[in-house]
């Protein structure tokens, strides 16, 4: 795409999540909620109505006791690139409320533009998109902790993980002030990456050889969710366990995931 004014081209932010390290502790989920003003209600046990941009899935290998095994899989928005930025959700939004930015590789969602048709939710196979079924209400006094860098959403719109884009904005601001053209790898990190006590999440520019993710995504055992659908996601997972890699996509009985060398 076109050159950024004064910058040197495009970036493709993405994640590599090491499922061998992830313990499913839930820090990423809470860090995300705290950072992004995610609302909550008294009952959050209906997980189909519970907004969790970052959701940790619990996968099991389906074997009976005592061969049972569990793997935790954190699922942020996968920021699909599809082909040429036509991710499943971006192309279907009738009001251009969600978009793919080839400058950053981030799928944006503008809450004030969205009018709540939910077509994007139907399009997303990852259930990464959440609808505000209710007015977001914080108990009295608690609205004090809301982060001004992220706009709280109103009832009736769709929201999702933004790769903490406001942190990119802040990093850019600082870079502008300091007269730098580029922002450093550690100047822009998502809240979940920062919080993960196991260091399981690595975030950076997938195309930049200086960033850790560039190498990590190529390691053996790396895979993406539902790769066969052509969603071309920017969240990579790594697991040394074959059954986990198999759970990352659908396979016919005769097929299997890539073998790890």
């Amino acid at each position: 795409m076109k050159q950024e004014h004064g910058g040197n081209g495009t970036r493709k932010y993405g994640m590599v999540i090491d499922l061998d390290l992830c313990t499913g502790c839930g820090s990423c989920m809470v860090a995300c909620m705290a950072e992004n003003n995610v609302p909550f209600r008294e009952d959050e046990t209906d997980k189909l109505k519970s907004i969790t941009w970052m959701r940790v899935y619990k996968l099991t290998n389906g074997k009976p006791y005592p061969e049972t095994d569990i793997c935790y899989l954190p699922r942020p928005c996968q920021h699909c690139e599809g082909s040429h930025g036509h991710s499943p959700c971006v192309s279907v939004c009738p009001a251009t409320a969600t978009d793919y930015d080839s400058q950053t590789g981030i799928v944006s969602q503008i809450y004030t533009r969205c009018f709540g048709c939910r077509y994007c939710m139907a399009a997303c196979p990852y259930h990464a998109r959440y609808f505000n079924w209710y007015d977001p209400i914080w108990p009295e006094g608690m609205e004090k902790y809301l982060n001004p860098n992220v706009s709280p959403r109103m009832r009736g719109v769709v929201e999702k993980c933004s790769f903490c884009f406001h942190r990119y904005q802040a990093a850019k601001d600082k870079a502008y002030l300091d007269g730098q053209k580029e922002i450093e790898e550690d100047a822009y990190q998502t809240a979940c990456t920062q919080a993960c006590p196991a260091g399981a999440i690595t975030f950076g520019d997938l195309d930049n050889p200086d960033h850790a993710v560039h190498k990590l995504k190529k390691q053996p055992g790396a895979f993406r969710l539902l790769e066969r659908l052509g969603t071309n996601t920017k969240v990579y997972y790594v697991s040394s366990r074959e059954w986990v890699r198999r759970a990352g996509d659908n396979y016919l009985k005769t097929e299997g995931p890539k073998k790890v060398v």
Binding site: M1, K2, E4, H5, G6, T10, H84, G85, H86, V90, T96, D99, Y100, D101, S102, Q103, T104, I106, S108, I110, Y111, T112, R113, N149, V150, S151, P152, S162, F165, H166, Y168, Q169, A170, K172, D173, K174, A175, Y176, L177, D178, G179
Partner: protein
């Protein structure tokens, strides 16, 4: 009712003839009809163009009538003397009391506005509830650093010659949206003569497209949404 149905054949005869009759009268009442049309038209045009814009905005006075020209003459670094960048690149916006106190711990002059400021706010340590003309809604992320530091733009390009004002103009607020009138602009149709007359999204994008900045959007081939939204 059913007996009436039986008469329908004959009724239709009358219908046709009465239609003829009525059209004959048309000429007489035609003028009235046209008159009424124009009365309605003009009245609603007046409502729409004159009364509605007046009713739409409430008017508020700033708590203190700040004199930009006077201050601009006294400070060394132009606008940035008071409206400065913080170390993290964010923009401080309207100064806080702590900044003003640096000079105004005591009144510097006999200007009644300054005395009011010192008495009512400085002494009582209450922040001044300034009404910000250029306040964008919560969904907007505006990077002053990008515009001022990177693109070297003048403050006036967007804010107009506010630095040369001696009085604060009335703050007009849209009663429905809560926006400052400066966002939509003074003109109710949204026509602008100067770059600073309006501060809507289209005005931002107009300049961005001219400058060809950050054109990453796959959908619009313009700047990505997250460039200016949060």
């Amino acid at each position: 009712m059913s007996e009436l149905d039986g008469k329908s054949q004959t009724v239709s005869e009358i219908v046709v003839s009465s239609a003829h009759g009525q059209s004959g009268k048309e000429g007489g009442s035609g003028g009235v009809i046209v008159l009424f049309f124009f009365v309605g038209l003009v009245a609603s045009l007046i409502v729409g163009w004159v009364l509605f814009p007046k009713a739409l905005y409430s008017q508020k006075k700033q708590p203190i009538d700040f004199n930009h020209t006077l201050h601009n003459g006294l400070v060394g670094n132009g606008c940035e003397s008071c409206h400065f960048f913080r170390e993290d690149g964010s923009y401080s916006g309207v100064p806080k009391l702590a900044q003003c106190i640096e000079c105004h711990e005591e009144a510097q002059s006999s200007d009644p506005e300054e005395i009011k400021f010192v008495e009512q706010f400085v002494k009582k340590e209450i922040e001044v509830p300034w009404l910000v003309y250029a306040r964008q809604p919560d969904c907007v992320f505006f990077s002053h650093a990008a515009h001022v530091k990177s693109a070297n733009m003048d403050c006036a390009t967007c804010h107009g010659p506010i630095g040369e004002s001696e009085h604060m103009k009335l703050y007009q607020q849209n009663r429905i949206t809560g926006y400052s009138r400066n966002i939509w602009g003074e003109n109710i149709v949204g026509i602008k003569k100067n770059t600073w007359d309006r501060m809507k999204m289209d005005d931002c994008s107009e300049c961005h497209q001219k400058q060809k900045v950050l054109l990453g959007s796959v959908q619009t081939q313009k700047e990505g949404c997250f460039v200016c939204h949060k």
